[in-house]
Symmetry: D2
């Protein structure tokens, strides 16, 4: 053996593994702001002992503070009062008042709301930003909705896919809902309720120009329901609000500026989801490895949701077979084989877990400037 062999064996350890990141889960739900808007996480469907929940309003406030939820509403069932033998409260604003009291001194926004609780149709409906929930008590649900409208409330259809009212789980618009829409009595629809995602509700929202809503509908404890200490979290509505205020959230809801989020799934209209994804994915650095034409791109996911990317560029990657998972609040490195050394590289991806319509994954395009 008289040949001189010179290798650089170092390369093995210099390359990080995109999918073997160490990332710690905390319970905080954080997303970056988008141009022109704050991104506020909101949970506008919750219950306490003032209807059929199992906690006093103070626990709901404390849960929200632990989760960094920006705004909540305790939407007690107006008509379903299983605790009335013990809590014969005539005042339907009471849970709101107590939560407001508890939230004082924090920056949590508490919004007055109620659940109008009826058989299907129209099923259950939330009205939030009420001034007086008591006035919604009517035998005729339509009168309740009209009163909500008079108060300037934002009204959304709850769990239209609920199997207790729709045994097939398929959200379906009824004549009564059409009538509500015609009268301007309904502005939103839950695409996410608790652990459930409804593709059909998503389609109805798009067809009827309704705001996408995602809520926990929590009755027990957030920690137990969502296995928070194993990395789970409640679903939320991400609201793109001009300011961090109740009024601004209300404006945004009426303007349909929401993205719903649960369990590593995002859904929203393209005009809201795309800016959010763009804000989440930041190119932190991009440089060629040594004298190769392999471009090392460090991506940071600034959002809470993992993002599941599918490579749509013409390039292949040095580490990954086309699927790259960007864990929430983490950095991921990808190595792009550009074949020649370029100044700027376009990287289009499908985001497989972010939907702009039922079953329709979003696309993002990263422009990478090489340094």
């Amino acid at each position: 053996m008289n040949r001189i062999l010179l290798f650089s064996f170092l390369f093995l350890s210099t390359l990080p593994l995109s999918a073997q990141h160490h990332h710690t889960h905390d319970r905080v739900i954080r997303f970056p702001d988008v141009p022109g808007y704050h991104v506020l996480s909101c949970d506008f469907h919750q219950h306490t002992v003032f209807s059929d929940g199992s906690v006093w309003p103070d626990i709901r406030v404390q849960e929200a503070l632990r989760d960094s939820v920006d705004a909540i509403s305790l939407t007690e069932h107006l008509e379903y009062q299983p605790h009335q033998a013990d809590i014969p409260h005539p005042d339907r604003n009471r849970a709101y008042q107590l939560a407001q009291e508890e939230a004082k001194g924090s920056n949590l926004i508490v919004v007055n709301g109620s659940e109008i609780t009826r058989d299907m149709p129209p099923g259950h409906t939330n009205a939030i930003f009420l001034t007086d929930a008591n006035k919604l008590l009517h035998d005729d649900a339509m009168e309740s909705f009209r009163e909500a409208k008079r108060q300037g409330a934002f009204v959304f259809w709850n769990h239209p896919n609920w199997t207790a009212q729709r045994p097939d789980g398929v959200a379906t618009l009824t004549d009564m809902h059409r009538k509500m829409l015609a009268e301007g009595l309904l502005q939103g629809i839950e695409v996410i309720n608790d652990v459930n995602f409804s593709d059909e509700a998503f389609q109805i929202a798009l067809d009827q120009n309704l705001t996408l809503m995602g809520t926990s509908d929590i009755h027990g404890l957030i920690d137990w329901n969502y296995l928070v200490h194993e990395g789970g979290h409640r679903p939320v509505t991400l609201v793109l609000a001009k300011e961090r205020s109740a009024e601004s959230i209300r404006e945004a809801l009426f303007a349909h500026r929401t993205v719903v989020y649960m369990n590593n799934t995002l859904a929203g209209r393209p005009e809201h989801l795309l800016p959010l994804l763009s804000a989440c994915i930041r190119v932190e650095s991009a440089e060629y490895e040594g004298n190769t034409s392999v471009l090392k791109v460090a991506l940071r996911n600034l959002g809470d949701s993992d993002l599941l990317l599918q490579n749509q560029s013409g390039y292949t990657f040095h580490h990954d077979a086309g699927i790259v998972e960007l864990h929430g609040n983490s950095q991921t490195v990808i190595l792009v084989k550009t074949r020649e050394r370029l100044k700027s590289v376009e990287l289009p991806f499908n985001v497989l877990n972010a939907f702009t319509a039922p079953g329709k994954a979003t696309s993002v395009r990263l422009t990478v400037e090489v340094h």
Copy 2:
């Protein structure tokens, strides 16, 4: 309020969350057998102090036992001997002999192998199932390959995408490789080496009828390189062998019966990958929820790799927006909205992280019998 409202609020807590599974990682790499074959995890590219590695062969055996790897080969560089000032060993079978000794009493299969270590072309090449590695020492690499063939060895091209030899990271067949193929001197190619996956090597394998190989090429410690205690693992070649024996593995390699596996990525020919996926995914139960037409299907992933499913059935799901992640060695429940109660349901999925060709995700079809 004189209406009687009867709800079943219980449903909320009876539905498990498909994506919030608690699953513990251990370091063991396990896959179920497929019809007719054992599925053996093999790592046939490793180094010790007998070339440029940092451990004695006993550590490699102990690492394999901790990982439940079924077969290994310590493929020292024949020509690259940076430790020769201290280990002037003429016997190129020595690492094999010491590993054999250490493995006695365990069921680990140790295979004699060497790395023929040359400039490109042909770059580095492993020959395994050697009877005497010393005889491969030749100035002319072709003579080494011919000797390997005489010994009945299985020969594969290592890291054809290695940037030290291919600065663009793009595996490309050379004339010399074509000559080797023509002479029957090359049977396999590394699609996975360490943390790197090569789409181009994958395509070469398919075009040239080569066996897909995945190896660690470990020089240091498996635990450190693959962050084993954070859930990482080394890459392996899954070999579909008729029996659990060295000879049977050799037969399978010559017959191309492999699937390569790293970091939640699987790649293989359809005839091997599909049976493996079918063996991994077991329908454990299927029943309709109460009197609804929502079918609860419990799926168990018996393999080590998470499987990333994309719903391709006409049905929508009650929990998931079309993407379902089946964590390795875990049960996942999906809820299928079949709209009417069926006796049998077909569920086709794309498996986004299992590839039968570069960038081409596999499809599986689950047939669910309802009980």
Copy 3:
């Protein structure tokens, strides 16, 4: 070098480390039974929305089931009713009734109780095993206690060290308490309340022949207060009961058969604590290492509390410098250097975190039969 050196280097890896155990925490509070008695974990001081707590009674039942607590009492403040604007309940048995309802079908024992809530003296006092809590409502606290006695209730002094009533935190018997004792109106005293341990209460219990009590006094959530997901747990009273029944627990409380437990601290009278420690520590095996006189003793701690042992035998240990920690629900190996091979070895230990009087650690003596 012509000497032949024969060593057994194997010894290094054959010896387990007593203090580097891997042990998983679950939230279940378990202790083994002792001869003649079940050991039941009980939490007889808790609050719900029916006085100043933040949860409905169902949550208290669910917390107890998650913790494997055997018996609970929801001891609402009789006189302190901050939620009365919303819950104007006259029935002081209500929390009990609701908890009973929720506990149906489980094996959780729910006991009716109330907190008689007064300024000091006598401060706060719990009466449990009541038949009708309403009858305790009297302006004169002594009349409340007399009614409790008429109902056969077990009565204990709550947090006598509470700084809101005793700014020095020092539990001190008052004339009123002496009067209660003289009339047979007080049977127990909290040595542990929430995160607080009172040495002075412990001494009062011993001096006055009172039952030792340990309770959570929970108002919010057990999970949050005790960092359950980081391995914490609520304090409990371990009751040595003849049977697993409410009546049997009541008999045991009147007979003073309790040990209190919080946060790796145990306190009890010797006649209860010693049998409990004996039941917790089981010698699982004892054999000499090879042909040495080093005795390998495997100890299992069957209880939930870590036990902190201080070697009091004449022997020294091969691994430990005299302090051995037996983690709860785990096996620990100690190596005793007995200097000659014995058939039977006595191993006395101080148990530094188990107290039979203020500041007085318990002693246990293990008799180890060698096999």
Copy 4:
């Protein structure tokens, strides 16, 4: 009920739990400096493939860097060379040279050393700070020791309790050792070797004025032997050195300035152990709770070892029954009931896991100035 009851129920949640700390383990072994000295963690007994270890010297350097160990020595057996068929190295300085090379650019101090490996007496002995290990090769061990002395080496007796040479595990001085002492050929003794602690070696050190040594004697991998990823660590000798240099460590060893540390056990002479404990325990704040006489003292343990404190003050504590565990690198709060509000409080403790003589726990006295 017409009495006004005013309570401060807030106190429950304002008190942290001393023993329910959340503290993350990393593998780094850190202790604070003491007045006049750096505290350096050193492991001066290790093996590589150059005697009977299983790794190349580079791994030992990398392990040390991961553990933040300040200084190491690779003390190959001079006479026991089981790998000599493969590594026929005549140069006994070779492992040192390779480790030096690997450590370049880091601040790890590598010291040349060898293990003089004989039957008992004298058993095994390490000589470190050698200038040429080869010169220690003599048939007569006494000549080896004399050569070590000529080279200015520091010499210590290894595992005098090793059951392969002392079947009773009891370290016992032999005539040969007395002769070595008389000739000035022996300066230290291992009190800790791997997982073993020898009370008898500790006593010999005190009687004979020898330096206390603690070493890993590692042959395989530190990570596996000490379950590093479950929070374990190798034993080390903490050296109180005037500067961070090899020469300064050597001076400190000859001056006996060491504390040995394994697995939450510390042992040292009072003049070294007490300053170390004082440096470890810092009073971070001390203030009375509200208007009570309960003093809240925040203690930070700046060292790596948990410290097991037993209250020896006349005061009782509000949370703890006399035993307080200060976790390494964590803050712990204790509440001292001083009965009146004092300006300054003395808090003497036994440190149950820190020994100044066999079975003799240390005492520390904290002086707490109240703010």
